[in-house]
C-alpha cells in the first residue's frame, strides 16, 4: 500500500503498467494459460511473417517431386502436385486466422448488439429475438453453414459470413443473460442517476461487464470457426484452390492416409489442432485479463 501511495501521482502511466502487470500476472499464475498465449504468439508470428520466411513458394508445383515423404529439404514432405507442405502449412496460418477472427468478430458484434438490446429492453424485443435465435439454433448448425455457403458461393467472405451467422446465437444468448441480470443492478441505477442515457448505460456500464464470460466463448468459437471451415472444406465447400488452408489440406490429405502418404494430412492436421487447442486454452486467461476483479 505504501508503494501505491508513492506512485499515485503518476496516475496515467501507472494504469498502463497496471494492465501490463496484470497480463503478466495472469500468465504467470497458470502455466497452461502461459503455454496457450505462447503458442498464440507463435501463430500470430507465423501469420505475419510466415509468407516471407517459408523456404518455397506454397503454390509452385513440380510433378517431379510429388508425394515425397518429409526430408531435410521438405520438412513436411510434398503433396501430390509437388508443393512443399511445410510452406503451405505456414502460409495457411494467415488465412485461417483471418477466417476465424473475422467470423468471430462479426458474430461478437452482431450478437452483442442483439443480445444487449433484448436483455436491456426485455418484453417483446426479447421474445422476438429469442424466437429468432431458437430458429437458428434449431438448424443443425453445420448444415446451416453448408447451406449458406452453397447458396452464396464458396468464397472466403461467404465462409466467414456463414460461420458468423451460426455463431451469433451463442453470443446473443450470453449477452442477453449477462445484461439482464445487471439491468436492475445498483451500478446501473447509479449510472442513470449520473445522467447517462439508456444507450450509454447499456454500452458503457452494463455491456463491458459481460466481457469476461464472452471471452471464454470467443476463445471456444475461434477454434470452432477453424474446424467449421475445415468441415466445409471436407465436403468441398471450402476456400478455393490453390489457396493453402489447413482444412482443405487435411481434407484432401485424408484421402492419402490409407495409401501411406500420411504427411499430407498429418501436418496440416497438427497445425489445425494446435491452433484450435491454443484458442480453447486461451479462454480462461483472456477472461482473467479482461476482468478487473482479477486484479490485485
Amino acid at each position: 500500500m505504501t508503494d501505491t501511495l508513492a506512485t499515485a501521482t503518476l496516475a496515467a502511466p501507472k494504469r498502463n503498467s497496471g494492465t501490463f502487470g496484470h497480463v503478466l500476472y495472469v500468465l504467470r499464475e497458470n502455466p497452461v494459460t502461459a503455454l496457450a498465449f505462447g503458442m498464440f504468439a507463435f501463430l500470430i508470428g507465423s501469420a505475419i511473417l510466415g509468407p516471407s520466411l517459408v523456404p518455397y513458394d506454397p503454390l509452385a508445383t513440380d510433378s517431379a517431386i510429388a508425394l515425397q515423404p518429409p526430408s531435410l529439404a521438405h520438412w513436411f514432405g510434398t503433396d501430390n502436385l509437388g508443393r512443399d507442405v511445410f510452406s503451405r502449412v505456414i502460409v495457411a496460418t494467415r488465412l485461417d486466422l483471418i477466417i476465424s477472427v473475422a467470423a468471430v468478430s462479426i458474430s461478437f458484434v452482431v450478437g452483442s448488439v442483439l443480445g444487449s438490446l433484448a436483455g436491456y429492453r426485455g418484453g417483446w424485443t426479447d421474445v422476438i429475438l429469442n424466437r429468432c435465435l431458437d430458429t437458428i439454433m434449431a438448424f443443425p448448425l453445420f448444415v446451416l453453414a453448408m447451406g449458406i455457403v452453397a447458396a452464396l458461393g464458396n468464397s472466403v467472405a461467404n465462409i466467414i459470413y456463414a460461420t458468423a451467422i451460426i455463431n451469433v446465437p451463442f453470443y446473443a444468448r450470453l449477452v442477453r443473460a449477462e445484461v439482464n441480470i445487471r439491468r436492475e443492478a445498483g451500478f446501473t441505477l447509479a449510472a442513470k442517476l449520473a445522467g447517462n442515457s439508456d444507450a450509454r448505460v447499456l454500452a458503457m456500464h452494463i455491456f463491458p461487464n459481460a466481457l469476461p464470460p464472452m471471452m471464454v466463448q470467443v476463445s471456444l468459437n475461434l477454434g470452432w470457426a477453424i474446424l467449421n471451415a475445415a468441415g466445409l472444406s471436407f465436403i468441398g465447400l471450402g476456400v478455393r484452390p490453390p489457396t493453402p488452408e489447413w482444412g482443405i489440406m487435411v481434407a484432401e490429405g485424408a484421402n492419402f492416409i490409407i495409401s501411406g502418404e500420411w504427411w499430407l494430412a498429418l501436418f496440416p492436421g497438427l497445425w489445425l489442432m494446435l491452433a484450435v487447442f491454443t484458442f480453447n486454452l486461451m479462454g480462461d486467461g483472456l477472461r482473467d485479463i479482461v476482468d478487473p476483479r482479477r486484479r490485485t
Binding site: P31, V32, R131, C132, D134, T135, M137, A138, F139, P140, L141, F142, V143, M146, G147, I148, A150, A151, L152, G153, G223, L227, A230, G231, F234, I235, G236, G247, V250, A251, A254, I257, I258, W262, A265, G269, L272, M273, L274, V276, F277, N280, L281
Partner: protein, 341 residues
C-alpha cells in the same frame, strides 16, 4: 394446472414460431441454392425440352409464393414431399435414416458422458491440481481435432494397420442381416430379437464412429461439469451438510452433484444438437447411412424436398430435445416453472 405443466406447455407453444421460421428459412435457402434441379434431374443427355418437362413435373415452373403455399399445404397434411434424387417419400427416407444417426449420436454421447462427467467431477474436487490441468488438456485436445480427421486416423490405425476394428462399412457388416425393424436402433432391435451375434456386430461397427464423435463432444461436458461442480461445492448448503456431519460421498453426489447436474443437462442438450451436426462429417467417413450424409447429398444436388424435410426433421428433433431437457430439468429442479426460476 400447476406451474410445471404450464411451463412445459409454454415451451411447446414457443416452438410453434420456431418451426414456422425453420420452414420459411429452409424454403428460402433451398430456392437460393444455385443450380437448377430440373437440369440436375433431367438426366445425362438432357435437351431443353426434357429439362422443361422435368421442371413442370417437379412443380418448379410455378411462381415461388405458390410453391411455398403448396409446400406448406402438403406439410400440414403430413407430407414432406418426394425426394427427387432417391425417388422415395422424404418422410420414409428420414424414418429409415434417423434411427441410424440417433443411435450413433446417442451411443457417442453416452460414451462421452461416462468419461467427461467423472473427469469433470474429479477436476472440480482438485481445482488447480495437475489432474485438473491434465483433464483440461485432454478434453481440449479431443475437441481440437476435426472429426473427419480423427475418423480417418482411427480407421487407418485400428482397421487398416492393426485389423482390430471391423471394416468401416456402415451399421452392420454384410455377413449379418439387419435385425427385424422395431425401433430402427440396431442395438435395441437385435437385443429384442435375442440375436446377440448381430448385436455384437452392430456394436462393433459403432465403436470407431462413436469414439470419433465422443472425443469431439467431451470438452463442453467436462468443462460444464467442472464449473457447475465447483460452484455447487462452494455453495452454503454444502457447508451446512458438512457441518451436519454428512459423509463425503453423500455431500459430493447427493448434494453437490445433483445441483451441478442442472447446467450439465442444459449443456447436454446443446451438445446433442451439435453432435447431430457433426454427424454429417462422421457419417461420410464411416459410410454411415444416417440423415447427415443424406442431407449433404441432397444439398449438393439441390433436392429441395429432401433438404427441407431434413431441416424440418432436425428442427422438430431440436424442439423435442428441448422439451426432454425441460422435463429432465423439472424432474431435478423443483423450482422449475415457478417464480423462483
Amino acid at each position: 394446472m400447476n406451474g410445471r405443466g404450464t411451463a412445459i406447455l409454454m415451451r411447446i407453444a414457443q416452438a410453434v414460431p420456431v418451426i414456422l421460421g425453420v420452414v420459411i428459412i429452409s424454403f428460402v435457402l433451398t430456392r437460393a441454392l444455385p443450380g437448377d434441379p430440373a437440369v440436375q434431374f433431367a438426366g445425362l443427355t438432357a435437351t431443353p425440352e426434357s429439362i422443361e418437362q422435368t421442371r413442370v413435373k417437379l412443380g418448379l415452373d410455378r411462381p415461388l409464393p405458390e410453391q411455398f403455399f403448396l409446400y406448406v399445404g402438403q406439410l400440414l397434411q403430413g407430407d414432406l414431399g418426394q425426394s427427387v434424387s432417391t425417388g422415395r417419400p422424404v418422410a420414409a427416407e428420414l424414418a429409415a435414416r434417423l434411427p441410424a444417426s440417433l443411435e450413433l449420436t446417442l451411443v457417442a454421447l453416452i460414451v462421452s458422458c461416462s468419461i467427461a462427467i467423472p473427469l469433470g467431477v474429479l477436476a472440480a474436487t482438485r481445482p488447480g491440481s495437475w489432474i485438473d490441468q491434465l483433464c483440461r488438456l485432454f478434453v481440449t485436445a479431443g475437441v481440437s481435432l476435426p472429426t473427419f480427421f480423427t475418423g480417418i486416423v482411427l480407421i487407418y490405425v485400428f482397421y487398416y494397420l492393426l485389423g482390430i476394428a471391423p471394416s468401416p462399412l456402415g451399421r452392420l457388416d454384410f455377413v449379418y442381416l439387419d435385425p427385424p425393424h422395431v425401433t430402427g436402433f440396431f442395438l435395441i432391435d437385435a437385443a429384442l430379437d435375442g440375436d446377440w451375434e448381430t448385436w455384437t456386430g452392430a456394436a462393433r461397427q459403432l465403436v470407431l464412429p462413436a469414439t470419433t464423435l465422443a472425443l469431439f463432444t467431451m470438452a463442453p461436458i467436462a468443462r460444464m461439469t467442472r464449473a457447475a461442480m465447483l460452484s455447487a461445492l462452494s455453495a452454503d448448503y454444502i457447508r451446512t451438510a458438512r457441518a451436519a456431519g454428512l459423509g463425503a460421498g453423500k455431500v459430493l453426489y447427493g448434494y453437490a452433484f445433483r445441483n451441478a447436474l442442472l447446467p450439465v443437462v442444459t449443456t447436454l442438450g446443446m451438445v446433442f444438437s451439435f453432435a447431430l451436426g457433426a454427424n454429417v462429417l462422421v457419417e461420410k467417413v464411416f459410410a454411415w447411412p444416417g440423415i447427415g450424409s443424406y442431407a449433404v447429398e441432397a444439398l449438393v444436388v439441390s433436392d429441395y424436398a429432401a433438404v427441407q424435410g431434413f431441416v424440418l426433421a432436425m428442427a422438430l428433433l431440436f424442439v423435442l430435445l428441448n422439451l426432454m431437457i425441460d422435463l429432465a430439468y423439472s424432474a431435478i429442479d423443483p423450482r422449475f416453472g415457478t417464480a423462483a426460476k
